[in-house]
């Protein structure tokens, strides 16, 4: 009976997780999630399980890997020589800010990147400017400063190796990674 109760509880919790407010993709997918649903609490689960308990390890939250969840999106792309977060990426940053608010124990590493042109060290600075911009936005939206570390990989870890603008655009990027993912 206890097992059944636990299973029921977990199902309910998972359902709650999935209905946590999600920000929309720019393509305009309809958002049916109710607004301002509180996320799972971080109360530890006592042995045997008690109704109302939830996931405490943020890395176990299935939304992080669910392609349907904005939280599975981790990259913010930038214009040449810019650290401005483009409108289309604001929902992604907002979703992660909400996640960091929800899980006070979650830690994030933001790796900023730059395209290959010019000095490697200056490009490290440009990547830092981008990761700092994402961090600043997350903190403005309620994440705590200590949760987020912004660093730069400069031009050293390109995802695309061709020497053209299409490729460079993919490399001007900030990636948000949670503890355990890097």
């Amino acid at each position: 009976m206890k097992k059944l109760l636990l299973a029921a509880t977990m199902t309910a919790v998972l359902a709650a997780c999935q209905s946590t407010p999600e920000t929309q993709e720019p393509a305009g997918v309809e958002d049916r999630a109710p607004k301002a649903t509180p996320g799972p609490t971080t109360t530890p689960v006592p042995p045997g399980g008690v109704p109302g308990t939830a996931i405490t390890d943020p890395s176990k939250d299935p939304r992080l890997k669910d392609p349907a969840s904005t939280l599975s999106k981790r990259s913010v792309y930038f214009e040449f020589d810019s650290d401005a977060i483009k409108v289309e990426y604001v929902p992604v940053v907002e979703a992660h800010a909400a996640f960091l608010r929800q899980y006070k124990n979650a830690k994030m590493l933001i790796q900023g990147n730059a395209d290959e042109r010019g000095s490697r060290e200056y490009n490290l600075g440009l990547g830092q400017r981008r990761s700092d911009a994402i961090k600043k936005r997350l903190v403005l939206l309620g994440a705590t400063e200590s949760q987020v570390e912004s660093v730069s990989l400069g031009e050293e870890k390109p995802v695309c190796a061709e020497h053209d603008e299409a490729c460079w655009a993919k490399n001007r990027r900030g990636d948000m990674l949670y503890g355990g993912e890097y």
Partner: protein, 470 residues
């Protein structure tokens, strides 16, 4: 140009050096046919001190690597014609001596080496040389010498340098060496000849550091200035960048991404031990040594942005140097320790500025163009080289700090990371050849060019080491 017909390159395969310049097609064909296929070399320590150092390095990784090959792509005028006669008995030493000396001098672009062939009767440092005869053979300088067993696996190497037109000896040196020190000895002889004949100190006995990217693997290597004896200091699956030599040549500072973010390490070459000297929250990069080797200027993002800090070489005593809303990076001390030159985009695009090492007002140094980065001071402090973007092409440029006159030294499109030889006469830099990273060098007047490459690998981030300790 009758001289061209007389001149032959006598390069042998074990040198791993390609000379492309004024030579006969026949000698070129012969040489290329002998070019080593694998380029793999065994560990051949160079001096007693270095041997210990290198043994430690090999223990760390224990891996042989493809050697840099060097190609001269341009030549300066006013080259001194010099004949290096094969040293008597030099075949006792595996690498010989005269080939290495000859290749060193030719690579500098300031000498034209004349083919001598075996002499009959053989010449050595004790021979009474008929200098008038050598004058007829168009040599302005002549080197003769010999190798003599000294017992216990050791050899005595003696040589003499002659000024042929003046018909006088310019001196010579005797060394007692092990067979393993033959190449190092040849470099020292080349340094002697170079200094006597040009008035500038030679850099043939120095070493260079560079990063090789091969597939997903990054290797920080240290080789002799001619690319021989490559040794691995560290291998990583994450990027390594910005290696810089401590002024005494015993340590390298560099940036490694093994912690998924940039961290500055100081690596002792003798022991292979290293220490993270800047591992603060955020990014840590761009180490530049103070002339006394006690401090490093670094770029840190720990307080937000990318700003300059000074930290002791053991990682203690960090203090902030610049305060701007811009990117301040690539700090380099001037040789007198008074100034720190750096890259900053505080004026919009990146330009080179300087600040007193003790802190103070910031002065802008570069004004031409909208992208000037990576400042490096010449060892005498009189010249600044940096990377300038000209019509979308990144090239190494030089500025005379007294007159502020600038000159573009290189003609590539992706030239970066310049590094002065300790005599200030050559600048090593990274460039691109067919989509692959290679190293190149230019004389500081832009006239002599060399290219150094490792087959099938990306080479970047060169740093020319200081003069050896003794």
């Amino acid at each position: 140009m009758a001289i061209v017909g007389l001149w032959r390159q006598r390069l042998r395969s074990r040198l791993g050096v390609i000379i492309r310049g004024r030579y006969s097609p026949r000698s070129r064909g012969t040489f290329l046919a002998r070019f080593p296929q694998s380029g793999l070399r065994t560990n051949r320590p160079v001096t007693q001190t270095l041997r210990t150092a290198l043994a430690a390095l090999v223990l760390v990784v224990g891996q042989a690597h493809a050697q840099l090959s060097i190609e001269i792509t341009g030549g300066g005028g006013d080259q001194i014609p010099i004949a290096i006669v094969p040293f008597a008995g030099e075949t006792q030493l595996q690498s010989g001596l005269s080939d290495v000396i000859e290749a060193d001098l030719a690579r500098s672009g300031r000498f034209r080496t004349l083919y001598t062939g075996p002499q009959d009767p053989p010449l050595n440092e004790a021979t009474k040389v008929n200098l008038a005869d050598w004058r007829g053979r168009t040599a302005d300088a002549l080197v003769v010498g010999g190798v003599y067993p000294a017992g216990g696996g050791r050899y005595e190497v003696r040589f003499r340098l002659y000024d042929v037109p003046k018909q006088v000896s310019l001196g010579g040196v005797a060394y007692t060496i092990t067979a393993a020190q033959a190449r190092a000895t040849a470099h020292r002889i080349a340094d002697f000849v170079y200094e006597k004949l040009t008035g500038d100190k030679g850099v043939f006995a120095t070493r260079i550091a560079y990063v090789v990217k091969s597939g997903p693997r990054y290797t920080l290597q240290i080789a002799d200035a001619d690319g021989a004896n490559p040794q691995t200091a560290i291998t990583s699956n994450e990027p390594i960048m910005s290696p810089t030599w401590a002024p005494d040549g015993t340590r390298l500072a560099y940036v490694s991404f093994e912690a998924k973010k940039p961290v500055v390490y100081v690596h002792s070459l003798a022991t292979g031990q290293r220490q993270a000297v800047a591992n603060f929250r955020g990014s840590n990069s761009a180490p530049g040594w103070s002339p006394d080797g006690r401090q490093l200027a670094v770029a840190l993002s720990r307080d937000g942005g990318t700003q300059l800090f000074i930290v002791n070489a053991d990682g203690t005593g960090v203090r902030r140097l610049t305060s701007s809303a811009a990117i301040d990076t690539e700090p380099r001390f001037s040789p007198d320790g008074q100034w720190i030159y750096f890259t900053s985009d505080r004026g919009g695009g990146p330009q080179i500025y300087r600040i007193a090492a003790a802190g103070g007002d910031v002065q802008r140094v570069t004004f031409n163009g909208d992208y000037n980065v990576s400042p490096r001071l010449s060892p005498d402090g009189k010249m600044l080289v940096y990377v300038a973007r000209n019509a979308g092409r990144f090239q190494v440029a030089a500025m005379d700090l007294a007159t502020r006159q600038t000159q573009v030294l290189t003609d590539g499109g992706r030239d970066e990371s310049p590094s002065f030889a300790p005599n200030g006469k050559m600048i090593l830099y990274a460039t691109d050849a067919g989509g692959r990273g290679v190293l190149a060098a230019t004389s500081s007047d832009g006239r002599v060019k060399q290219r150094l490459s490792v087959p099938a690998a990306d080479v970047r981030e060169p740093a020319w080491g200081p003069y050896p300790a003794n």
